[in-house]
Symmetry: C2
Subunit: 248 residues, 2 copies
DNA sequence: GGAGTTCTGTAACCTGGGTAGCAGAATCCG
DNA sequence: CGGATTCTGCTACCCAGGTTACAGAACTCC
């Protein structure tokens, strides 16, 4: 992407905020920008497998999820929710192999896109990039670890609470309602939330109703907010480490 | 490690076989060897958290598992089984942060060990290493993905079959018994196997007995072998993709 | 504006898998 | 070698969560 492009400044700014690039020097960023072209995908766009293997994208705007489905039952698990600042497909970028997973474009998505082999070469030619790249990969691996841990060790309502807690905005309290907004997943259907915690719609609805009754969350179609952050964290078992000695 | 060390040749050879280093040129390997010193841990050694954050190890011999435990129930999930040729701790190497997981030394372990910051610097100074390093990380991420997928979408006996299939030796058929040997997990207790698939001992025993009755596996204490590889793969649902059209 | 679609809410029923318990076999170690 | 420990085998019982079904609310789009 050339500096003359009308999207250049905005793209560069998003890149600077991305964990993939935060803190890198300006010159390196500008060099990196030259790799990319801007792409847009409409909601529901089918991405071919070529997209995941042969290209590497950094999301500027919008969301996509990467999902796996059981061939017989149709049950699904979302392994990745990719939003602004995230790289896609990281795994294929790393090893050059196809990624056995289904991408779903959730919104209008705007990307910076380049060929994967070009990105790999650039990474090798610019080892300074390791400074952000390797920690970013570390973080992605930690997310996968947490998903496996939650699936193996925690019940569904705990997993749901943890999911919401992951995406709640701690710092902003909407003034008129005193609720904590939720980002990235705030407009998800119960079925989509279910796929993120390895469950099914009716179970998620059951638990959400319970959380609503307990005054912890509030929701109506396409709108999820948190009313009681402390209680949510309790449900998520996040404070148990501190309070283990106070076990009831 | 200096070339004069009595362990040098053997260590170098293991390194050459490791997916972390396979195919790298000899000179780079030798340069890398200079980073490391040899360490040994007895079975059951407690590794401090310093070990995972401040040091990076390549396993030459022996096994360790990385496990997480539910604080209340005591239930556990093994996220990593680390054997010869594997790096430990990869995640801390990537991002320099502590890894919230418990290492368990399963055997006498022999490692090549260096400080993590030194390893990170070496990686940055030798971008040729990306050729093996990045695909290795990609493979580790794929393993985590598969674990999450299995936990979310498959029942316990399927997960068990998949686990065994992952570690069965396809190429070698023990001549006197015509069984397929299993490596790395062949001597695990039922409880340890259970932790690898996110279940509990009695359930694993129940399923193993079933697999034994079906003539798929054979086992007695500390010894697990596969008798019918095709049936095991069926149980693992691995051929379902091909046979979907033949659905009963 | 209305038909069609998607989402939410709820209930009944079933089951895979987990807990708890006990006993015997195998292994370890002093 | 024998006591202690670990592992395996098995059973009874219970329940979280999944499937199925139905109805109403909300949203979309022509």
């Amino acid at each position: 992407m050339l500096p003359e492009s009308p999207f250049y400044q905005n793209s560069l700014q998003t890149l600077q905020q991305s964990p993939l690039c935060k803190g890198l020097n300006r010159k390196l960023l500008e060099d990196m920008m030259q790799l990319f072209t801007r792409r847009c995908w409409g909601k529901g766009t089918r991405l071919s497998e070529q997209q995941s293997k042969s290209y590497f994208h950094i999301i500027l705007h919008g969301r996509l999820k990467l999902t796996r489905m059981h061939p017989e039952t149709g049950r699904a698990i979302t392994l990745w929710l990719i939003g602004p600042g995230d790289g896609y497909d990281i795994i294929s970028l790393l090893d050059g192999e196809e990624h056995d997973i289904m991408p779903v474009v959730l919104d209008e998505v705007e990307t910076l896109t380049t060929r994967a082999d070009i990105a790999r070469k650039w990474i090798t030619d610019h080892p300074e990039f390791n400074r952000c790249f390797l920690p970013y990969i570390g973080e992605q691996m930690r997310r996968l670890e947490d998903l496996s841990t939650n699936l193996a060790l925690h019940d569904t309502i705990t997993r749901l609470a943890r999911l919401i807690l992951q995406y709640v905005d701690l710092k902003k309290n909407s003034p008129p309602t005193n609720k904590y907004p939720v980002h990235l997943i705030n407009d998800f259907s119960h079925e989509t939330l279910a796929c993120m915690v390895g469950s099914v719609r009716t179970v998620i609805n059951r638990h959400l109703q319970q959380l609503k009754k307990d005054g912890i969350v509030d929701f109506h179609r396409g709108h999820l907010t948190v009313k009681n952050l402390e209680q949510l964290a309790l449900q998520a078992g996040q404070f148990l480490h501190r309070k283990q000695l106070d076990k009831k």
